[in-house]
Symmetry: C2
DNA sequence: GTGAAAGCGCTAACAC
DNA sequence: GTGTTAGCGCTTTCAC
């Protein structure tokens, strides 16, 4: 791909610096055409590597384009060809660690295609999501990848009628507009609860974010409490935070909760970062983890490798989600498919990583395994 | 801004779902024009809130647009108006924590303008930077914000001749194409060295990334060793890593270095994350920090609040850099300035945050302060 | 293998 | 206040 001569030579420096010679009018195909003595049409063909062009003209055009420092105008190109090789990727946040990872996976897949990702950030606000979506759709992208299944009616309507493939990612608990790739966060919560119960923990506290708009955290919580209920258990205590450093908040909340309920034997954190804060607190206080208290988070953040103990957590399949989602868009785009042909539904299976903060067997043999 | 009626109503759901009624052809102004019985031109004016339109027609147009679920085509708009309200933001990485923060500041400033940021990621590779830049410039953005001062000749030429404002950010040690906003990383390295020396530490180790393309880390290292040399000191040991979890690497490298050189009394880490790994290691080993060994990192990452001790570090003014850079672009865009009018040069002053891992007075009174 | 004409969907500029 | 005309810089299509 990077080896085709036109590809590399197109974006090369202007050998003759035109910036002082002419008044700063952006160069057009016509300029290259005149400089090379070749018609605009043929110049266009050379620059896009389309159709047959003789080696001679080809060389002359490339030479002229390079000399002038010509950069094609994609706006005009897109309007004329009715094709925009952009994929809108709409995510709640960049500072969450989770989303950059999904982005990376998406980029990797799209790198092998003509498509390019464009990111929009919503900050977990539906009205911002709607605005960002509107802005992006107005550039007529080839597809949309958007986090979550919860959107305003207007947003849903826009996506449904855009005539392009839409992939909702991260979460599968709900009705997709078109395609979905993700995990069931309810199931993830349930799985964690079952694992904890099986390990013999009984007095369980929950610590999470206050964000009512973080639907995935909410669903994990629901799944978690539901599975506990099924085993006749109930959360002993819970606490939610908003803002500030997650690590510090995890520490503080853990301190507060353990002060209120010294008898707790497990803390389930809605993300790894606050979990790490809790872990550091427990270790500092000399609490036996996972003997006296077990801990678990969510996300399997690589960032945290290197803590004194590895926090038990759950892999949310972020990279795989990104890859699959990008793959769906890429396939559809390659087929010239406009999104009408029924969406895919891909539910990935998250796995529990017990780390060092979750004992695997019940201490008193209360619940035999299997 | 969000209160102007056109602004909010433009992006509202199609009340009548057109997706089944017509073959999936994207709607055009003409459709709205016909549906409302108003000329395309006037529809355009209403939708953009330009010029005087009577309340009556205005209402009818809005009604029709909403009904149809019309989303304007920015491609056509941009081509016709020769205006693209996009700002290209080109950064090395999203997973670095540093850049999302800069992005956030940029977005905040641009939110008050018609401009919109579009991110491109280079992964610290010059050839990718060149490609990303080329792609973005081909959309004719209103400005470019790009990390660093080191670019390929081709990249520099493209930016110089693009006829738009260019702001290079993060670093001021070098020659900008147009404007710069950042800190001097050489100075940052020197400052840290001077502070460390003043505090009485003498046997200093350095731990950093192996990336030869992380110019800012390199400059900090240079400034650091240079200031040590001035005081007649030399780094006792150094170690570089690549890949993997920074926290874990910091821990491992610290262990290795202290095993080799038990006499070290200070470790300077090129970033907070590996610094945190080192800190955790020292605390675990019962090493007296900052008595026996002092530690410092770089970046003042909020993420790390909550560690057992606050790591000494240096604030890189990330938010301020983002704000100032976006401000420059926004001002120029508002003035219709094409970037010809001489760039600004803004050098911010990083400050040292001693945290709990850097004693402030020399223990033996070797170097009296001021 | 190359060129000429038409037009993508909008908006600037000017008429009315 | 509203409509008309003429492009924006490309690519499509078709002729040669």
């Amino acid at each position: 791909m990077a080896l085709t001569s036109s590809d590399s030579s197109q974006r090369t420096a202007p050998v003759t610096d035109q910036s002082n010679s002419s008044p700063k009018r952006p160069l057009t195909l016509r300029d290259v055409s005149e400089a090379s003595g070749v018609s605009e049409m043929t110049v266009s063909r050379v620059l896009r590597n389309r159709g047959d062009v003789s080696a001679g003209t080809r060389a002359r055009v490339l030479e002229a384009a390079k000399e002038l420092g010509y950069v094609p105008n994609k706006i005009a190109g897109a309007l004329a060809s009715q094709r925009v090789n952009l994929v809108a990727v709409i995510i709640p946040s960049l500072s969450n660690m989770v989303f950059p990872e999904v982005m990376t996976a998406i980029s990797e897949v799209l790198d092998d295609t003509p498509l390019q990702p464009v990111v929009g950030v919503t900050n977990y606000k539906p009205e911002r999501e709607e605005k960002v979506l509107y802005e992006m759709l107005s550039w007529r992208p080839s597809g949309v990848i958007i986090a979550g299944l919860e959107h305003s009616d207007a947003a849903k309507a826009m996506m449904a009628s855009a005539g392009i493939p839409v992939v909702e990612i991260m979460d599968t608990d709900g009705d997709p507009i078109d395609s979905v790739v993700g995990i069931s966060h309810r199931r993830a919560g349930r799985m964690m609860a079952e694992t904890i119960i099986k390990a013999g923990y009984r007095k369980i506290g929950f610590l999470g974010t206050k964000m009512p708009l973080d639907h995935r955290a909410r669903k994990r919580f629901e799944g978690f409490t539901q599975a506990l209920a099924k085993a006749g258990l109930e959360i002993v205590d819970k606490e939610f935070y908003a803002g500030g450093s997650a690590l510090a908040k995890g520490r503080e909340m853990t301190a507060a909760m353990l002060a209120r309920n010294p008898g707790l034997d497990f803390l389930y954190f809605s993300n790894d970062m606050i979990g790490a804060g809790g872990l550091l607190y427990c270790l500092e206080k000399g609490i036996d983890v996972p003997g006296q208290i077990g801990l678990a988070g969510f996300n399997n953040i690589e960032l945290l490798d290197g803590l004194p103990k590895r926090l038990a957590t759950m892999d949310a399949c972020r990279a795989e989600i990104g890859r699959k989602a990008a793959g769906i868009i890429a396939d559809r785009a390659a087929q010239g498919d406009d999104g009408g042909s029924g969406g895919k539904r891909i539910e990935l299976s998250p796995t529990i990583n017990p780390g060092d903060t979750l004992r695997l067997r019940p201490s008193q043999g209360a619940y035999p395994e299997d």
